[in-house]
Amino acid sequence: MNRLRTTILGLACATSFGAAAMLPAHADEPDAFKIGAVISFSGPYGIIGEGMKRGAELAIEHRGGTVLGKPIEVTWEDSETKPQPAVQKASRLLANGAHMIFGAVSSASTVALQGLTDQRKVPLLVTISADDRITRPNGSRYTFRTSNTLGMEMRMALEFTKARGLKKIYGVGADYAVTREGWDFYRAEAEKMGVEIVGIDYPPLGNRDYSVIIDKISKTDAEGVILVVTGSDGVTFLKQAGQAGLGKDKLLFGPVLQDELLAAAVGPAAIGANSGVRYHFSYDSPANRKFVEAYRAKYGEWPNSFAGEAYDGMSWFLDVVDGTKSWDKEKWVDAFAGSTRENSVEGTKVMRACDHQAMQVGLWGVVEKGEAPLPELTMKITDVFQPEALFPPCAE
């Protein structure tokens, strides 16, 4: 009898332990999927944050606000376009149970976040920072970039140089490491193609007066001027170049020189400037048509690059997470690496397992005068470069 009692008790205990062992999987299942978004709402890139927020929110809305059967909660934090606040705020979000981090905007902030998310083994979704080092072979296991890299954009500029048959080029690059590396790559590859580099200037970041450089360029026989500058530097250059009539006999172009936001800041002098475009509302794909229609219905304006890229990246990542039917972050990471997004807003994107960089087409356009309902100055997409021409194999 005692043996029987012991056996029953033993079985009961074993069952209890077994049940207890199984319970945590359900008991630990969170009430919500928490996204910690650390993006720029102030500082030099403050203009970018709002578009990213709108795009990401629309991606969440389009899936009914849930993933893995739980509601999605996003906490928005301002990185102030600086690495230190970005890390501080992301740390707080992770302490509060964020399942992933979305951000940052500036590459310096994103690199800083990578250290944190790698340490905590939490996925980091990047949809705007372009520094090539963010996604490098055998780099961060937890970082994924669904948007362009600067290297890809420099290759687009190279393809554009080739396509337009430009033989003499003058370069202007903002004086910091990433730009100089980009320029060095462009120069080496352009010279291999037989292009003559007739001059180069590295004005400081935030330069306010390009008149001397513009005067120097105008006195050369350069057919094209590549501007490896962006944001307000690109706006300032194009405004001042327009006043000196530089664009009349020289083709002005750059990897990230213009979009609708920047063209509006330049004014009519932007017309004719050529640039790589990270995303464009006019790109013809079923997913993009659906996104643009929804965005315009909700916000009453055309989505900018930041909104488009954020929508695309967030939709893709959440679909992958949902597909794993698991709350195990390692499974999300394994599933995202090597996944293919057939219905991206820019056609098919493939997340390379070797560096977690999405291979995708590269868009290139020229600023033109827009007719309503388009913005007053709008980008017309002139070239769509294929991924094979823009992404070297991981071994390189």
Binding site: S42, G43, P44, G46, I47, E50, D201, Y202, P203, P204, G206, R208, D209, S211, V212, I213, D215, K216, S218, K219, S232, V235, T236, K239, Q240, Q243, A244, G245, L246, L261, L262, A264, A265, V266, G267, P268
Partner: protein, 285 residues
Amino acid sequence: MSTIVIGLSMGLLLFLLAAGLTLIFGMLRVINFAHGSLYMLGAYCAYQIVQTTGSFWLGLLVAPFLAAAIGALMERVALRPVYARDHVYQLLLTFGFILVIDEAVRLFWGLEYKQIAPPDLFSEPVAILGSQVPTYRLFIIGFGALIAAGLFFMLERSRYGMVIRAASGDPEMVQTLGISVSRIRTFVFAFGSGLAALGGVVAAPLLPIELGMGFSVIIDCFIVVVIGGLGNIRGAVLGALLIGMTRALGYTYAPSWVEFLTFVLLIATLVLRPEGLFSRKGRAA
């Protein structure tokens, strides 16, 4: 030769940006950190006026007065109570103004870049000695020279300038003569604020109008003011021209050395002639 024309335009634009800063320091002994924010405010006000009326000239005329009114309010409400205290209070106060003005601009105009085109009169460049020089640059040269001459005569040759200088040098004596030193101080701060805004309006057709534009300009303003001599209008003109020419010639012949040369000039001035390269002993303005 075209480099000299460009250098002149760079120098006189720098002078327009720095004139208000040197005036306020010279007369009130206040280092106005908010100078860059007032410059930015001038550009935004001009943008709004141009958007509403289509006239750049109206923006050039009205925006400085709006900034001057705000400057007068800042001086009357916040600065006046701390004149007697340590300079640190004034520095902190003007730093606080930066935050207030920047936030107000963000609320009114948002984060998007704004733009003003130069007036149609200046839409085409002119050929000068083989260079295409934007006509707006020629306007900056002329307008900057006019403002410099006007300021010089107002401060050095007019009766009002004499009173301002006297109030700066010996406020108690001026007060005993029945002249309100407080009013003069308010006027000077408002005038300096208006000059900052004027710089913003003149620079606006060359640059994107954006929230951070005041921060980047303040460093250049301090370089001009230190080299020219704190509070010295004549020195500010010459200092600005020196910097403008250094940059114009530097970008032409030794572009990698431009920033280095500018800061070497600043450090050399501080070490060898801290009162400024163009200051005269006893000069107040």
